[in-house]
Symmetry: D2
Subunit: 377 residues, 4 copies
């Protein structure tokens, strides 16, 4: 089995989730595409090497000078720092896997994507909902015409944790460092899912709110910092296919922690993603559950039968989605031809991010904002 | 106990629901405000008198000449016919209870309301969600500031039955006869509920769709009639209090028959109406269910402890709401002072209907449409 | 339409439910089998005649001397008084409809049944779960072999209200007056449902508990009365078909108010009654929901399509079940041939009650107690 | 950090789950008690060393001669082989962690426990429900008297997968190799949970069924092997505290895959384990949810705040429970004093297994069987 020397930048929450996936892959899958060698952790805490069992720890700043040694770079650092790390990997011809958002705007992300593509460097982002089998099934069902023409759809991701006014300021709440709030953090996933399942965006209207406007500084709880990102956003969007729907994301929905909904309604039926049971539920025009009658012959769905962990070896939804995404990237690194028609490349992430940018523009101006459709780069 | 001679116009579905309420009231309540005498049923089928045990059946046309004999007129006929019947009752100085929508537009309804009010005739509409104790509790909770400032809200009423393309044409699907589709039939309730619980409307945007555009004629299934009303509508609205939320109503949501949601999110918590358990669930900023800790001292809530049937004597949600509304009207007829601060008068129905009119205007033009706030008549 | 002069004995909770059904029948059904005339209410409160709009009120004691005037007697008085009223009706050759339990034991009930049958008097009890379409469908599904051989089953009916120690003593808590506690009040329904759906009983084991052993007297809250009936019972039973299952009924299950479950598991699948959605859910051996694929050609199921109120005209589950039962009795009174193969006659109620008696015997002795199978009378 | 050389015997399903936990521990916890060195995998497939990144692979037979090199042995092989492996570890003075059931009967398990205890070898079993915080909370709540005296309880674990008659024969379905069926595989967990939360057993009655009596042989699908273990079991048990409750476990419950219930009802309220939300829900006598009002000062609950993975770093319920159990064992290996008052030692597993033995005896004889209470060894 081909060894892949992993460089992991960042060991915060999401970095650890990635790390756990790399570690557990041989248990989760019958066969893994590569043997991961825990080579370098890029961090400002040298002890992390020992803790996470890497061969060495290096500061972020050294990526450009040291990453030639590794076979892939996984970028899990704060959003504003992604750019330099991705550029360094591209310059060193190292395949790069980057958390979302890749950069602080769609425009910047597309620029990075062009650099990576021009250099022919394998690149991918963690738009992990693309790897959810139920989401892929929903996409195939809509495409197969099972629910008729799409009339409306609804994508919802709600959390409640930021209602706590004592929660300290963080880079996530500073637009300069994060690129945005709930709409970037959660909305990017939902916009991407709508693009995949229901279709491309034509225009958006958006309203955002910052519910907790200032927060105590970390380490200096008596001083307050201003929060300049949204913690709630409501998007109404028209798609190219003529349908209209809503996306709602929030970090301040009391009592709705972890609420997820994704549903598409058409002229002949509906399809919705049931996360608990891991399936796309299809109802026909007579409101009968016809899920079990749908036979899909779809490459994306088929691929995920291998690439998504079985329910038996599940490590929970979060890890399972990340594992499938990482599995796909490793497969790409070792030259595998995964047959996955929609790898979330930097370019794809850029087009999705441009929809989010349009939403922010609408929220700022109060106007309906047109969305430019994805083009071949 | 004071006898009330009832005149009931219309014995279709909703007329029968009203009838069942009048019949069962003495069983549902410990004490009823009046003894209902089943005097006249206005219908074109004379045999209905016998079936529904009225003293006589008369055609609708005779209302103006005969309604002096009755003590109240309950109007349950198709929407476009409401006007003449209400006017006849007002002219004869007979208290009038009218199904919603009262007339084909908010303007027309307000005009009728002025006539009734000028004549000092007791009048009420069946905006029955005002009588739901959980809705009243939600209103009191928002007003008491329990959830802080309102950020967003969501009102949803979905059905699926009109996806069946074989379902025959009906007056409900003709704008001339009904005044509108899902937005009038279901949306009026949701708009009214938002007005009560969350606040008055500032402006609306609305999208509507007609999913099944033509239907077989009743009695001539080979001929098709054009449907010119919406069977789905999505409203995004700004309230005077600065909040933004959505109303969605549908008759074509496959697999969502009977879906109801009503929830308000604020800076300190949320409140939502749980129809199954008949209560307003309150979550605080830490997402703890604090429903049981809320003590409400609110006249509306207090009144409904008497006016809404107990769970023990429930006849199901639909009948219970109508029973409470009818109970309140009968109480008004017998001079009772029910202490209910928000009887859904014709005028109130008119102001609510004007919001719906603004939604249709927005759907037609694609623009944001301002809503005129209610004024004293 | 044939008029039926109704005599109603008792206007407590269940008497009022019956009354509401009689009143609303013409609205709930497209066609009713009889026109109910509210002739006599048997009660010790003469004002009830006016309240419930009967022609006259008479004391219970007068039933035997006055019931010749009525066409049916509906008995809703406390359990211990049923016997004399039923006997009076039989003696006067008046069809009799009696709440459950008919008498204080299965033996006594069977004795009454024999009297009524010998006199050829139409008789029925309010074992209303027999009229639940989902229950009838479950029965038909088991009989058709859809789930294979029955392995196990579970019937549950839980309430919580009697945990309140301040709730006053009532005849329901005195064995002499009620015949038993939760096992009689709730268990009788569940035993009857198991008999219908899963099969006849072979033997039972039972444990009971009285959680609140004494309660304040009504009107004398400082004096305590001893409770001598069960408020919780757990039955493990073997059926003639070789299956073993459990029945659990309770009035003291904190947080489980209104919990209902009825499910049967077999060698090829399972069926369970979903009260919320009013249907019998069938899962096959691969745990696929095959409910929609089952086509039943069953007289009981067919009959209930007419006899059970449509969901549109529903008055809630409780009233709907009672309405269907009353509809069936009225149909019998007017000579209708309803095609309902399992009217819950006094005899049927007696055989079901004998299972409950066996449960009490087991609870008293700690032994497994055989159940005598129903025999033709 | 102290290194622990791990010997893992068995890489089937449960072996892989253990392996994934060892691998991911440093990501799941803020601090781990030991650094796991993947020393030896005991397996008949030498390539497993490479796949699971162990230093070497050895056959099971060599455990006794080679385990002196390792610091702990984790036994995940088929049930009947546990004994020799545990004995070898004990003989070599190596701490031993063994999957359940430890041996084929409670008696045999207690015998092994005595050997391990006499040799003062740290030993533990994977009775992982002891590490579920909600279960520990339920236990503390019952002990604190919050729900009053225990009246009844219910523990349910249902699966559906063995209804598939084409599923091949396996050692799990042979009593000689597995020690029993659903009652050993699933029931052991539930019996252990009841012991912990509700109290010790006094006596049991049990019924079992084998629904699929023969199955195709692996590799020879035309030949059938006889299944001689239960795939469904229903236990009714009396506890020492006077309560009576039921345990139901199944592998043949169509449509109930993964059903779990654990609830205890008392004279003052109830407590139940909500797996989805990871908490013990407490209802008081007025059926109010008082979960949030309960303050527990309980060492077990406190310990699990550290030992059970946070919801943020969750790898799903299955892995989380195993991780907490393994964390506790590693802590023991490194001399940690975890403060966990109820480590599931071999002896504890033995006492729990004896209850299961009594259940089988009852199922065989049809009698109520007394259970011997745990004694100090």
């Amino acid at each position: 089995m081909q060894p892949i020397r992993l460089g992991l930048a960042g060991t915060g929450f999401i970095g650890r989730i990635h790390w756990m996936c790399y570690r557990a892959l041989p248990g989760m899958y019958a066969e893994v595409p590569a043997r991961v060698m825990f080579d370098t952790v890029y961090t400002s805490h040298p002890t992390e090497a020992d803790r996470f069992e890497f061969s060495r720890a290096l500061p972020y700043e050294s990526v450009s000078s040291t990453c030639a040694r590794i076979d892939m770079l996984d970028v899990c650092t704060p959003n504003a720092t992604h750019r330099v790390l991705v550029e360094a990997a591209v310059a060193a011809h190292v395949p790069v896997y980057c958390e979302k958002p890749v950069d602080l705007s769609g425009e910047l992300t597309l620029e990075l994507a062009r650099k990576a593509d021009d250099a022919e460097i394998l690149n991918q982002t963690a738009l992990v909902y693309r790897f959810l089998p139920a989401m892929a099934a929903a996409r195939a069902i809509v495409r197969a015409g099972v629910i008729g023409n799409v009339v409306t759809w609804r994508a919802v991701l709600l959390h409640a944790s930021y209602l706590n006014t004592q929660r300290a300021m963080t880079w996530r709440l500073s637009r300069k460092e994060s690129g945005g709030g709930a709409l970037v953090d959660l909305g990017l996933h939902m916009v991407d899912a709508v693009r995949m399942v229901a279709g491309e965006f034509e225009a958006v209207r958006c309203v955002t709110r910052t519910v907790v406007g200032e927060r105590p500084r970390t380490g200096a709880p008596d001083e307050m910092s201003r929060v300049d990102v949204d913690d709630w956003a409501l998007v109404t969007a028209d798609l190219v296919n003529g349908s209209t729907g809503t996306i709602e994301v929030s970090r301040v929905h009391a009592g709705r922690e972890g609420t997820f909904a994704f549903e598409v309604f058409g002229t002949k039926g509906s399809v919705s993603v049931d996360l608990q049971r891991g399936r796309a539920v299809v109802m026909d025009a007579a409101s009968r559950d016809v899920t079990q009658d749908i036979v899909l012959n779809d490459p994306w769905v088929t691929y995920l039968k291998t690439a998504f962990p079985s329910s038996k070896m599940s490590m929970g939804l979060m890890c399972d989605m990340h594992a499938a995404s990482i599995y796909t990237f490793l497969d790409g690194c070792t030259g595998g031809d995964v047959g996955f028609p929609a790898r979330p490349t930097l370019a794809e992430a850029g087009w999705t991010h441009r929809v989010v940018d349009a939403c922010y523009q609408s929220a700022d101006t109060g106007n309906r904002v047109d969305v430019q459709r994805p083009q071949a780069s």
